[in-house]
Symmetry: C2
Subunit: 124 residues, 2 copies
């Protein structure tokens, strides 16, 4: 198993294990935020369902991610598979603003990003 980052213990990038760095270590793994996001959006779901929603994730990675998220207390097993815990939903809510920010970011990039062959499309 991969080592699961926990606040207070040395994590990648912080020997002190500062909570924020532990959280970044946990969330800064491929698909970690995506899994929590997806699970929060679609609600309790089976392993397979989650795997489908996460398009390209491999079962091994999904399983690892789920175990980490469980150990962290963000996800738990339920009758019908997996679900976000209250704490997990709380984290999801903290992540929510990133949704609209990402759209703003996408706009910013399409405005400034490609000086080549831009389909002269100035937005209002």
């Amino acid at each position: 198993m991969t080592k699961i980052p926990m606040p207070g213990t040395p994590v990648r990038g912080s020997k002190s294990g500062a909570p924020i760095m532990a959280l970044f270590d946990l969330l800064g793994r491929h698909w970690a935020m995506g899994v929590l996001w997806t699970l929060s959006e679609i609600g309790p779901s089976t392993f397979r369902r989650l795997q489908q929603e996460c398009e390209t994730i491999s079962p091994a990675a999904l399983n690892t991610r789920l175990k980490e998220l469980q150990a962290a207390g963000f996800v738990h097993r339920v009758e019908s598979g997996y679900a976000a815990t209250d704490l997990g939903l709380q984290l999801y809510r903290q992540l929510l603003p990133l949704g609209s920010f990402s759209k703003q970011w996408a706009e910013h990039l399409s405005n400034e990003g490609t000086p080549i062959s831009g389909p002269t499309k100035p937005e209002a």
Copy 2:
């Protein structure tokens, strides 16, 4: 170079390139959030300084991360090295609540203690 995730182009986990998934792909790389966070906190700084603040990051990874963050428009070069852009600071501000959340999370973990157990107490 590593492929830099951009909204609108296929990213890891989303062939559609949904902005949020592109952002997750970018931020879900080791040290991506840590670098932005640190750079925002300490202000404009040199490559070496940043490397020291990020305790264990390797120069290769830092360089890759910086290039990605630059391409994304979150970081730019300045006289004295590197600095977060306005957009980058905006993202940092979105990430800020994670700071206090992570402390709450650390508390939660020290209260519940046992990582592996039966159905945890979801609510009181």
